[in-house]
Symmetry: C2
């Protein structure tokens, strides 16, 4: 009997460890385009028996039909046939001018080239679902819109939706180098296999295009803003052209980051002065060469005179001189220039937060019409929280483009869960107060006051060669949310999270609610355990991984965390009021006034704008010091809570993805404690104050935290 | 009617372009472990109704059972249940001592710890299939053996197979750097995500272990032979331990490349002299530290005093002094040292091909018993063809380990199809003539004359983060063939190709035959269009991509292609006979004598050993010059033929993989022509001879070929 019991125990233990032998594991590659079977497949099958398109199908329309078949096959179990006639149960793709007889497409004309309309209708007595648009790309977007509607539980029966993008340019910026490393990339290599291009066109490029088209992203800057001259040489233009060919049917234009000194470095000019005729001629010829290979090339993104990059100021010219010279070369081809406002120089030690405004505000109105100035969401550098950039609303005669960072250089890389939707939304909904009735950042971007000018948004991509694309499952949500906000800057981050979670993880309402709630709290948790109360730029040097509030020995003052927190025995915070750097003066008076007084400054921005004594009384009744420690502790508690909540989702999530997320959350808890402990240890060493009652003593000494080093860190090149 | 016809045409064109909407595309990730459905699933289901194992299942046995279930689910459509009793139709896993009553396992004892026996048998009147072994790892290898048998059409009914590895150490060498780049890697990044280790244990590590275990590979050196000190610090030992934990159940030990100067660089010793007591003590303590984390750690691989790496010669000590000091540190833990014989120094300008022998032959018998000397297959460096290394058979008192290169540094990277099975086989079957009755390289490795000594083979891995693992579908075959040869150095490359193609591409005999034939001819094609007739080391500088026979300006003479071909107005080839470097004297007299005379030297090695006039009369009746050009042309024709033959396979191969291979073959043809044209143009410029009648003029001028540059080439770090 004992033997038998042992043997039975062995069977049981075996059965427990055996995974289903044949299930295809969810590895994240399919992103939000998983198209899992609907509960009621019969009804959906009835409503999607055929796909009807009457014209000659362009590659874009073919992509729309392919996607509908793929999605409907997945969700209903049956791929619809394709027909040119309209039968009952058809999904009808139709462009304005070729709409089904008797179908009313009210408002279609207002939706522009990229908008679409989805409508359940009766046409000649037949029940059909119409995807109507003014152009092929609208049909593709509409196809994705229909699939999303179906996937998120809307059903086709009463579909009546119209959508058009509010910004013209919805662009990803890849900080991808030509050797396939990615600056601040935490998702493996660049997905651009430059070495094998143009010969090898990987299937993943198509899936990249599909994912972006599903969000309406219509442009991609392929290479790092810290650019190299080689990207503009003939072999690389051929590689870029091959990618452009793959992306074109999905409505995605390619752009390149241009290095200012390219012609000089290639020894094809003797200067890079934008006003030198030979330089302008070189760029005109280069643009002509590019457009011969890529007729719909988007244009250039330029980082100039920033962080050591060359630029027109090297020749005592302005940013406008530089941008306009390039714009003139691109204009005959309808190309544009995206000129970054992220500039700072060590020679101007006033307040780094002020420099972009100081340099660009005087240039308002001086840029050519095909130039956009691309402004980061905040004035420092993609911190967990920053106030909106003072340039928004301050350059009414210049089209401004938002630059968000989707890759989480400062929010835990691909390790920490930090859904950026709320960060994007917070910035976009911020009121610049540059108009009497208010003017949000989103409204500045949409530029409704002008109408014919360029509008756009850029997101620094978190896409790489890793099987999850974004380095982790939850980081895919940041790509998703970025794309949705680029389509509609007045969108809702919680709604986007819900869409994403439903398509990506589960249609089970309980699971969706839990996951969305985790996502919505996750970014604030990171703020709290890294940089609470308006602190910023406290990360360790170079790789930006982990805490380094003590760092004070770098080559430039404004690289040091101590420059930003200015903590000493008496207090902490950066005084940006009139008694300090007066960066506040760059904001509209309504904003500046509110933030000039710590009493009317939100806690979240307090130490961004104010240097306050450690015993400053917070609205909570605590001293600043006690509050600071409490915020750090709250962040850690939130990270622990994320981990605990995920545990509860175990029965509702497939095993592999459950496990992969759990591993990351374990690490997040560990690193949250490290951030908290190291920061508290450091600030305590500066303030000399005892830990508030009940606060836990850091696990190691400050010297031990300082000694931690990370050779070969990810994303640091 | 015209409209209707147009519409119909549109439908047709759409239908043509639509891929199946739901098929999971073959992307190569599953390697040869695809387990596609058998034609006769019923019979196989009958024979595999249950998996029986009576004991307590160790992680290794669990892995065996998991794999059997996965494979049988795939091939028969049904995953067998797991039981502890033996029923009819069972697959019985049994270790010696616990074999089913009445089952005769003749010869099992001779199969060692890793061998296995597969046998269809009747046990108590029940038809069963027995996998018998002496240890758990034998059961895992047996499970893979059974699945391979089934997959390649053997069936279970009359199975009677026994197999045991002929070498003890079957090891992969990853030239993977700590920043995830891979030296000479053409398959994306390192699969070791060092940055996220030890916290994140990726699922791919398990699949890596499965694939290797399926071949019997039982060791892996995780990091580049050009090693860094950090790998031996505590944070990295923790990362390595995490990988060791994942690989352990699959019988795979981890090893590390150790940098000679590690303790000195870490400032923990004042010298790296192997005879200094503080150095020996440091390594002893380091070994102890490693073994505390990884009790079954395999040991160190060392590249010392080679290509700028530090080593014991820096202190006027020998390789043996260095290896033995490390060996002493590892011996208490049963660890070993693999000491590379790949050495050459600029200060010894005689003939680079002679240096390893000159340095190591005198050390024969001076190495500790737990040291192996790891010798590349040839005396230069993994060229498309080299004669076997003269050290094989020349160090009878030292265990020698073969080092093959699986990654194709010199055979077209992951772009060209070049099945290396014939290269491995050619070397292994070469007769060193060091015994009166012959002694092949394989016999040297197997070391049957001694018995208790270490034996082994190393392969420089072609594994990376790319979805195909190896950078292309066909490069997987090189990993496969390497593993099979490591198990049996006297194996047959064609048989391995057939196994691989059947499991990987198709069981259709016509497809298999065609694919195997392409594979078998592919390496010779590369030899012909790159380095025919014994030429070698003609590649361009640094990245080793493309032809550079003209290069003569590098820092060391033996880095220059001109050093190796010695072509001038009069002739071509490296005289390694007594009138030249006399490298031939390093071979056994029988070999030396045959290769001393160009008349008895095989064409394939002619210019390796002889400098001959351009008008030398070849056995073909042609002059050497005419023959050389003909060989280049033959190589190009073969590349073109590979492409044409693949075209014919289109109906027999799944669409995605067909297309991905076709793209690479297109490029191979292009690059074969480039190699041929550039080489012919160059040698013509040297010989001053007219092109042979009918030979095609190169497409560009020599200067144009010389001007081609490849910044940011893959695998070059």
């Amino acid at each position: 009997m004992r033997v038998l019991k042992g043997a039975l125990a062995a069977v049981v233990s075996l059965v427990v460890v055996l995974a289903p032998a044949h299930a295809v594991e969810e590895d994240g590659y399919q992103l939000w385009l998983r198209y899992r079977p609907l509960q009621q497949t019969g009804q959906a099958q009835q409503q999607a028996q055929t796909i009807s398109y009457a014209g000659k199908a362009s590659p874009t329309v073919r992509a729309a039909i392919d996607e509908l078949r793929r999605g409907l096959q997945g969700m209903t179990g049956k791929a619809p046939a394709v027909a040119t006639t309209v039968a009952s149960g058809a999904i009808v793709l139709a462009k304005a001018g070729a709409l089904p007889q008797g179908f009313s497409a009210d408002g279609l004309a207002d939706l522009g080239r990229e908008g679409y309309l989805l409508k359940s209708a009766s046409v000649n007595g037949k029940r059909v679902t119409v995807i109507a648009a003014n152009d092929d790309i609208g049909l593709l977007y509409g196809a994705f819109g229909l699939l999303r509607a179906l996937d998120t539980g809307k059903g086709l029966a009463a579909l009546d939706e119209r959508s058009a993008p509010k910004l013209q340019l919805r662009v990803l910026n890849h900080w991808d180098n030509l050797d396939r490393t990615v600056e601040r990339g935490y998702s493996g290599q660049s997905i651009w296999n430059w070495w094998e291009l143009p010969d090898i066109r990987e299937r993943q490029y198509v899936d990249y295009a599909r994912a972006n088209a599903s969000l309406g992203i219509n442009g991609t800057v392929l290479n790092n803003v810290n650019s190299k001259a080689e990207i503009l040489t003939a072999p690389w233009i051929a590689k870029v052209a091959a990618l452009a060919d793959v992306l074109r049917p999905y409505g995605i234009k390619v752009y390149l980051s241009a290095r200012w000194s390219t012609p000089l470095e290639l020894k094809e000019t003797t200067t890079a002065d934008p006003l030198a005729p030979e330089v302008a001629a070189w760029w005109r010829a280069k643009a002509d060469e590019i457009y011969r290979a890529i007729p719909d090339f988007g244009g250039f993104l330029v980082k100039a005179n920033s962080e050591g990059q060359p630029g027109p100021q090297d020749y005592h010219r302005t940013h406008a001189d530089g941008a306009n010279m390039l714009a003139a070369a691109l204009a005959p081809h309808k190309g544009i220039v995206m000129w970054r406002a992220f500039v700072y120089a060590a020679e101007k030690p006033d307040d780094r937060a002020k420099q972009a405004y100081d340099e660009f505000k005087p240039l308002d109105g001086k840029f050519a019409p095909n130039v956009m100035v691309q402004v980061k969401n905040g004035a420092i550098d993609f911190q967990p929280r920053e106030p909106f950039h003072p340039l928004f609303g301050a350059m009414p005669r210049t089209p401004l483009m938002m630059e968000f960072q989707i890759t989480k250089e400062y929010l835990g890389f691909a390790m920490h869960m930090a859904y950026l939707g709320p960060l994007f939304e917070e910035v976009l909904k911020a009121d610049t107060m540059q108009r009497p009735n208010g003017l949000t950042v989103a409204q500045v971007l949409e530029d409704t006051e002008h109408g014919q000018r360029l509008t756009g948004m850029a997101g620094v991509a978190n896409i790489g060669s890793s099987r999850t694309w974004s380095g982790s499952h939850f980081d895919q949500a940041n790509w998703y949310a970025y794309g949705r906000f680029a389509w509609d800057p007045q969108g809702d981050s919680r709604a986007f999270a819900r869409e994403w979670a439903t398509q990506t993880f589960s249609r089970e309402p309980q699971a969706v609610t839990q996951i969305v709630d985790m996502m919505m709290r996750s970014r604030e948790a990171v703020v709290d355990y890294m940089t609470p109360l308006g602190l910023h730029h406290l990360m360790d040097t170079g790789h930006h991984h982990g805490p380094g509030p003590w760092v004070d020995n770098l080559g430039r003052p404004d690289w040091n965390p101590t420059y930003y927190h200015k903590a000493d025995k008496k207090g902490i915070g950066f005084d940006r009021t009139a008694t300090g750097s007066n960066a506040l003066a760059q904001y509209a008076p309504g904003v500046a006034k509110r933030w000039a007084d710590p009493r009317t400054t939100p806690d979240e921005l307090l130490l961004w704008f104010h240097h306050l004594p450690w015993d400053y009384a917070m609205p909570s009744g605590r001293t600043l010091w006690t509050e600071l420690v409490a915020r750090y502790d709250r962040g850690v508690a939130e990270a622990e809570s994320l981990r605990a909540r995920w545990e509860k989702l175990k029965p509702l999530v497939d095993e592999r993805r459950y496990d992969e997320v759990a591993q990351r959350l374990d690490t997040q808890v560990k690193e949250a404690r490290w951030w908290r402990d190291a920061s508290v240890a450091y600030f305590q060493s500066v303030s000399g104050l005892p830990l508030p009652p009940g606060a836990k003593k850091p696990g190691r000494t400050l010297e031990q935290y300082k000694a931690i080093k990370f050779p070969y860190a990810a994303g640091h090149h």
